[in-house]
């Protein structure tokens, strides 16, 4: 064989690339994956998380990808069944006092941290008082009324409140409020603690390795507090930036589980027809993901409620669910997600798709069609995170044209979008995805409460909507401990929100999880990919 000069160059290049790959860790990741294949495939669960999390501890960052990895290592006090009723986790018993001013927890005995130290009530006290109340993005609001956590003995913790705070019982899962080891966090700066990137928890999996940009490996925790679990020996989380490449990895059996839309929605129909793969929308009830359309209530254009109603009547939410979200969502009727069955009510003012009515409302409000059929012009800022959001904006522009409103779309990056909506309030209308969370006080109040009109805080009350009646309802809902009365308060709140219409809820978003059918037990967990994966088995 003759080797030309050019071939030699190529060879040289190849050697260089090989060395580069080895240095960068790409090759070693292939090694790990290769080894995992060689080992008993039944014992290795291969997961993908989109995108790669910046940190592995959900106490400091509540982004959905962080919650997916944190929960495998760090436990919460409680878990929840599919009706959102609490289940034992680190706490085995709990008792809410009659006046709602304290909750007593009996803790699970003989639980050990991954480094062998015993888990006690001191860890709970430290986590709630020092971590969750001070550093957790939502915890500052959730635990605002916590005055102290009493620890009469190592296996008892009593949370004391200054005001009744019934919603706290909904916020104690591993994904929302992880319990951290006091002995590793005390005395240094918690958000900068090195264990945030290599967590020591009490959960079913132990941290092994994080090769940034490539993979994370976790191993079975043999001392996990449920004997014999988990059944999975090792868990590998791979980061594949491209949705097309992820689809291929699922098809070839290299990935077992991926949550929060790992594959383009448009591609799912094809994936569903493959014999070894399945698609589910279960496991996202806790998020209560929705898509909101918001008016800037400071804008004189929207002072008249009939203008807001007209726009609501002109948006065909079923069309959006079917074509923009490819059916992975349903038309929303109110500000609370239908998945939050405890609080959701369908009995609110409705705005069915009706162009004629929309036009009549605009005529009545004093905006007749002028030259060229245009009534007035508005701008619209869609959120930037997903293709679906942009498609919705394009749909909205066309839908408004049909009733004589000219829409100028504003494309921007995420930072500009947040600045325009929540810092400078310079927009006219906006749309964005939002999580209701398991309780409306945590996830919905922030969008309607006039005391939450806070400049520079994303996903606060950006519309500037301010109603004393609404404030009174929200504040009553915050402190009401009677379940039925609380439900009634939130029913009224939903009616009022849909009457005043500062926000038009568009879609209940169904996130999708793609998984290989050899994975068992994934959909039994309320939290799906946000769950602990302790009960997952591989066939």
């Amino acid at each position: 064989m003759r080797i030309s000069c050019r071939d030699r160059l190529k060879l040289l290049g190849g050697v260089g690339v090989l060395a580069g790959l080895q240095a960068s860790g790409v090759l070693s990741s292939i090694d790990v994956i290769g080894k995992a294949f060689a080992e008993d495939a039944k014992k290795t669960l291969r997961v993908t998380i989109v995108p790669e999390p910046p940190i592995l501890n959900a106490a400091f960052n509540t982004a959905i990808m962080v919650q997916q990895i944190s929960t495998k290592m760090l436990d919460g006090l409680l878990a929840y069944d599919k009706n959102f009723e609490p289940l034992p986790a680190l706490a085995t018993e709990w008792k809410v006092a009659g006046d709602g001013l304290s909750i007593q927890f009996k803790l699970r005995p003989n639980v050990k941290w991954h480094d062998g130290s015993p888990f006690t009530s001191a860890d709970v006290k430290y986590s709630i008082e020092e971590i969750l109340k001070k550093h957790h993005p939502r915890g500052r609001a959730t635990f605002a009324n916590v005055s102290t956590v009493e620890t009469p003995d190592p296996l008892t913790a009593i949370i004391k409140f200054s005001k009744p705070s019934p919603y706290v019982m909904a916020a104690l899962s591993a994904s929302e409020s992880p319990i951290l080891p006091k002995h590793l966090y005390e005395g240094n700066d918690p958000p900068a603690n090195k264990f945030n990137n290599a967590p020591i928890g009490t959960g079913p999996y132990k941290f092994v390795e994080w090769q940034r940009g490539s993979y994370i490996t976790l191993a079975r925790n043999p001392d996990y507090w449920v004997k014999g679990k988990p059944a999975v020996e090792s868990l590998i989380v791979r980061f594949i930036p491209d949705a097309g490449a992820r689809a291929v990895a699922f098809e070839t059996g290299e990935l077992d589980v991926g949550g929060t839309d790992p594959i383009n929605l448009a591609d799912l129909e094809r994936i569903k027809t493959l014999p070894n793969l399945a698609v589910t929308t279960e496991g996202y009830a806790m998020c209560g993901a929705m898509y909101y359309f918001e008016f800037n209530m400071r804008d004189p254009q929207f002072k008249d409620v009939r203008v807001r109603q007209a726009i609501a009547h002109a948006i065909n939410r079923d069309f959006v669910a079917k074509n923009v979200w490819f059916g992975y969502g349903s038309a929303a009727t109110g500000p609370i997600s239908q998945k939050l069955a405890k609080f959701y009510t369908a009995d609110v003012p409705k705005y069915p798709y009706d162009k004629k009515k929309a036009e009549a409302l605009l005529d009545a409000a004093g905006y007749p069609r002028k030259a060229g059929g245009v009534r007035f012009k508005i701008t619209h800022d869609p959120s930037t995170y997903s293709e679906q959001y942009r498609r919705f904006a394009e749909y909205f522009k066309q839908a408004m044209r049909m009733i004589g409103i000219e829409v100028d779309l504003q494309n921007s990056d995420a930072a500009t979008f947040q600045r325009r909506i929540w810092t400078e309030n310079v927009y006219q209308t906006a749309s964005y995805g939002i999580f209701n969370m398991p309780d409306p006080t945590i996830g919905v109040q922030r969008m309607y409460w006039s005391k939450n009109i806070r400049k520079g805080v994303p996903y606060s009350n950006g519309s500037g909507y301010s109603s004393p009646e609404m404030d009174a309802l929200l504040e009553a809902g915050q402190n009401e401990i009677d379940v039925a009365k609380r439900r009634e308060i939130f029913n009224k709140m939903q009616v009022l929100a849909m009457t005043d219409l500062s926000i038009i809820p568009i879609i209940n978003v169904d996130y999708t999880t793609v998984y290989n059918k050899r994975v068992k037990g994934l959909t039994e967990d309320l939290e799906g990919v946000f769950g602990t994966f302790a009960n997952i088995a591989l066939a």
Partner: protein
């Protein structure tokens, strides 16, 4: 006159040049008259979403995820692509020729200063620079054209400067100076016409590049959200690449044909304007 007819003859000797010219003319005709002959709004949701190309009456080239007509997008996108390609290039050539001519004619300190500025622009990767400019200012057809012009003028400036440096020494220029002709007159009526051939060739390639840059921006979602362009169409279709690949293929072929035909024309122009090569 002799020179001009021989230039046209030389041009038509190039087979690719002729093919390029025919395709380009068709695209230009489509951009100018298409929207009148096929008056369907490219954003209107006219048919069932994701309808395959049927070549029938309704949505002959199929429809996208929202039921928008692909043919209408193709026609209106041609207009956007050509407007951006031509206006960005015109602006870039205007800046580049001015800077290059001044630097090449006056030389010395002026030349040094202008060339250092040019180098600053040349060291920043073009596409990234365009993204930054478009992100800072709101994306619109105007800002995108301006951003592309801002990144593409240095090539013209360097080219014109080189030509000026050599032509400046020639006897005919010296004689113009001797008879007291004003500097602007020498630059614009004497030297510039003699170096316009390479500028024409470069700018034809620049139009093609500008069209590609615009397509890239729109594909990334940084285009003007209020106009339909080919890049944006590919962006819309990308999600359904595995199932409805025609959404990506059709505008992709349109971009390719346009860029290819402009390149062919540019090459043929180069051959016919510089017969020595």
């Amino acid at each position: 006159m002799i020179a001009r007819s021989s230039f046209i003859q030389r041009y038509f000797q190039s087979r690719t040049g002729v093919i390029g010219l025919i395709i380009l003319t068709l695209i230009i005709v489509m951009a100018i008259f298409g929207p009148t002959l096929y008056p369907v709004d490219p954003w209107d949701m006219v048919s069932r979403p994701l309808q395959w190309p049927s070549f029938g009456a309704e949505a002959p080239l199929g429809s996208d995820v929202l039921g928008r007509d692909v043919l209408s997008g193709l026609i209106n996108g041609a207009r956007v692509s050509l407007i951006i390609g031509i206006s960005a290039t015109a602006a870039a050539v205007a800046i580049g020729v001015t800077v290059g001519a001044v630097a090449g004619y006056f030389r010395g300190l002026t030349d040094d200063a202008l060339m250092r500025i040019t180098e600053v622009f040349q060291t920043i990767p073009n596409f990234l620079f365009v993204i930054v400019l478009v992100a800072v200012f709101r994306p619109s057809v105007f800002t995108i054209s301006a951003a592309i012009a801002v990144v593409s003028w240095p090539a013209v400036a360097r080219l014109v400067r080189g030509e000026f440096l050599s032509l400046r020494q020639r006897a005919f220029v010296e004689s113009c100076v001797t008879i007291g002709m004003s500097t602007p007159r020498i630059i614009f009526t004497q030297i510039l016409p003699n170096c316009i051939a390479p500028v024409i060739v470069t700018s034809s390639i620049m139009i093609a590049t500008a069209i590609l840059v615009e397509a890239g921006l729109s594909f990334l979602g940084l285009g003007d959200p209020n106009v339909m362009s080919w890049g944006a169409m590919i962006g819309f279709g990308r999600q359904s690449l595995r199932t409805s690949w025609y959404l990506t293929l059709i505008p992709g072929v349109a971009i390719q044909l346009t860029v290819l035909s402009i390149s062919f024309v540019g090459e043929a122009l180069n051959d016919s304007l510089n017969p020595r090569l």
